[in-house]
């Protein structure tokens, strides 16, 4: 049958440890005791159907909403009960679902906002880094964020998150609503961020094919519980994953 739920066999140094996390929206329970690990330098993806609780888990890591049970440990520090801005201060950056760039502010100002917590001395260097990674943003640096195309907005959201020099980057469905070619570019960029910058990446995706191909390890979430886990390659080959998330055409 499927791959058994394994306890992170190739985990080196833990970066993020999620243990028995339960999250509620009012009386409705969205997560039922989720265990998950992300090791330093890894790309870990979380896939699942609509409403499985993927985004909820990512948001819970950010402290909004807060977990009602269980613990979230970042680099050995319990962050379960911290407010979002305190969690972000500890080196977590988030690319939220739907990108959420600041539409009336220019590309440059959006990136400035990303550097809110950063050291001003790094600003120019970090800006160049983002512009090298996404030359399109350099071309449009004075354009208002809201007038960018969907792909450019996604690049901006990722660039903005990188401006704070995060140790852990959380991405929520970066491929949402983008053309296949752009999706490929975005995933390439994510791979580069992990390999070249050494940023640990936790990626929530519906586009299981791309996500699993990129990731070192993956988790499958269904109805608020971790259903499967394994290396990206294993999950791609898994019959259950294929049937549920990959058949019916992928990008």
């Amino acid at each position: 049958m499927g791959v058994p739920v394994v306890a992170d066999p190739m985990l080196t140094v833990p970066m993020l440890q999620v243990r028995g996390v339960a999250t509620f929206y009012g009386a409705i329970q969205a997560l039922h005791g989720v265990d998950l690990d992300v090791g330093k330098g890894e790309i870990v993806t979380l896939i699942g159907a609509n409403g499985a609780g993927k985004s909820t888990l990512l948001m819970t890591v950010c402290g909004n909403p807060r977990a009602r049970a269980g613990s979230i440990v970042l680099d050995g520090q319990d962050i379960t009960q911290l407010p979002t801005h305190e969690i972000v201060r500890r080196g977590v950056a988030q690319v939220p679902e739907g990108r959420r760039i600041f539409p009336r502010m220019s590309v440059f100002e959006n990136l400035q906002m990303g550097a809110t917590l950063g050291d001003p001395a790094h600003f120019q260097h970090d800006l160049e880094r983002v512009f090298t990674m996404f030359p399109r943003l350099a071309e449009r640096r004075e354009q208002r964020g809201g007038t960018l195309s969907g792909g450019e907005q996604q690049m901006l959201a990722i660039g903005r998150a990188l401006m704070s020099r995060p140790r852990l980057l959380l991405l929520d469905e970066p491929s949402l609503g983008l053309a296949p070619l752009i999706v490929r570019q975005i995933f390439e960029a994510i791979g580069r961020i992990a390999r070249e910058e050494g940023v640990t990446i936790f990626l929530v995706e519906q586009n299981a094919f791309h996500a699993l191909r990129l990731a070192d390890r993956g988790y499958v979430l269904a109805n608020g519980r971790v259903r499967l886990s394994g290396s990206g390659r294993e999950l791609l080959a898994n019959a259950e994953v294929r049937a549920a998330y990959l058949e019916g055409g992928h990008a």
Binding site: C62, V88, A93, R100, E109, R141
Partner: protein
């Protein structure tokens, strides 16, 4: 030759449409224009004064106007123009109408109709002209002029205004009034325009500033310049006190709570009789001094008047000119402070918060603190303006701090284009200045005010100056580029 894309409407339905419009106008107008009550003395009290001729003329004008608009919309320009010209002629003719205003009303209707009929041609001509190389340059100069030059021009006008021949008592009074609202508009712009927090109780901080000066000066003998910073601090403190519990609310909920707060402050002022003198207000508040000298005909014991100090004969307008420059200075300080803040991280955070609070949290911004600073800074400027108001009026009472004041200040910010500094100036001139200048219109004044508001919201839904200037320009704008 008709454009086939335009709507085709047979003549009968056009007449029907115009008649229906006239009927609606009649139904509404009968109460507003048709009759009004007049006081006929103590015996019978009120009586009706009928104005059916006014109403009749208005209905005829509306009927013809609607007909003309339908004609113009169908592309039948010449009939529409003819109708408009006829109305202008009727308005200008010595025809006997109950009031002079109706002549204007008829003629103005005709002018609007002609403009509407000619508009497509003018529009075409403008577009054609904009495509020529000269047109492009003019267009570019136009936008840049509004962006930068206009502010300096207005500032220059404001500075020299007291020395022009127009500077009589009435104009100076109006100038001080407009500048007070410009300052309040700029202050509220920080809260509403930049931080995106809808504050309907802004006048509360204005009241705090005014009462701070009134009480400290009349009871403790402190001067205007000593109290000014204190008033700002008091108001900012109140801003934080209010902000702390309510800033977790958003949008409409925040608006309601701030509205309530504004009323609470007013009610406390009315009812805390021992402290604030209640509804009777506080009188004989000293005016601001110039290096210790007072603006008065005779100096108090041991003091000096400004005319003695400068060796010029006394004139009542000197005080007004002095007040004018104080409020101009205070308003400029507000503006410059805001412009500086926009370039600092906290100012950027305000704007980002307005755009997307969730994204802000994800970037490590503490939304509560950021909102609190916006609230406190906005309140501080209202406090400055309030103590100026008390020093100018020399008498304050709770009646000066009603909800309508908050509403006017908010209208100035919204009408100006949220977050636009120059827009606030234009809107303040429009909203405060025009109603004063048009006092001759009498009862129609508020009608004109409403019409202006509706027109602005229809044609400029984002406010007079709706676009946002980036806080930083990275490259100097290339001059004479290919466009």
């Amino acid at each position: 030759m008709r454009d086939p894309r335009l709507p085709n409407m047979p003549g009968t339905s056009m007449l029907k449409d115009a008649a229906l419009t006239a009927l609606v106008a009649a139904a509404l107008g009968i109460f507003i224009v048709g009759f009004r009550t007049v006081d006929v003395g103590s015996r019978t009290g009120l009586a009706f004064d009928y104005h059916f001729a006014d109403l009749g003329v208005a209905i005829v004008v509306i009927f013809l106007g609607r007909l003309g608009l339908s004609l113009a919309a169908m592309g039948l320009r010449w009939p529409a123009i003819a109708l408009g010209v006829a109305m202008i002629a009727a308005g200008a003719s010595p025809m006997k109408l109950p009031s002079g205003f109706l002549h204007w009303f008829v003629a103005l209707g005709g002018v609007l109709l002609v403009i509407r009929a000619v508009w497509p041609w003018a529009d075409q001509a403008i577009h054609a002209a904009a495509r020529t190389p000269t047109g492009r340059v003019v267009d570019k100069i136009g936008t840049e002029w509004v962006g930068r030059g206009l502010g300096w021009v207005l500032l220059g006008l404001a500075v020299v205004m007291p020395f022009t021949p127009f500077a009589d008592q009435k104009t100076m009074d109006l100038g001080v009034l407009i500048l007070t609202y410009v300052m309040l508009g700029w202050g509220l712009n920080i809260v509403v325009g930049l931080a995106g927090l809808l504050d309907l109780g802004y006048v509360a901080f204005y009241a705090v500033g005014a009462y701070a000066y009134a009480l400290l000066s009349t009871q403790h003998g402190l001067g205007f310049w000593a109290v000014l910073p204190l008033a700002g601090m008091f108001a900012a403190t109140f801003g934080i006190l209010l902000g702390f519990p309510v800033l977790r609310l958003r949008g409409d909920y925040l608006a309601i709570v701030t509205l309530g707060f504004g009323e609470i402050i007013r009610l406390v002022i009315i009812n805390w009789y021992d402290f604030t003198n209640g509804p009777a207000g506080i009188g004989s508040i000293p005016g601001p001094t110039l290096f210790g000298a007072v603006f008065a005909e005779t100096a108090p014991a041991g003091g000096q008047t400004v005319s003695e100090m400068l060796g010029i004969p006394f004139h009542g307008i000197h005080r007004l000119i002095f007040l004018y420059y104080i409020i101009l200075l205070l308003a400029l300080v507000t503006n410059i402070f805001t412009q500086r803040m926009r370039r600092l991280p906290v100012g950027r955070a305000w704007e980002a918060l307005r755009e997307d609070e969730t994204a802000c949290k994800a970037l490590g911004i503490n939304p509560t603190n950021t909102k609190l600073t916006a609230f406190a800074v906005g309140a501080m400027f209202a406090g400055f303006a309030g103590s100026f108001f008390a020093a100018k009026q020399r008498f304050i009472s709770p009646e000066s701090f009603t909800f309508i004041e908050s509403a006017i200040i908010l209208s100035i910010v919204v009408l100006g284009g949220m977050g636009s500094q120059i827009g606030v100036v234009l809107a303040a001139v429009l909203l405060i200045g025009l109603p004063e200048w048009f006092r001759e219109l009498g009862n129609y004044r508020m009608l004109a005010f409403g019409l202006a508001m509706v027109l602005i919201m229809v044609y400029r839904p984002r406010g007079l100056i709706g676009h946002r200037e980036p806080s930083i320009r990275l490259h100097p704008v290339a001059s004479g580029g290919s466009g």
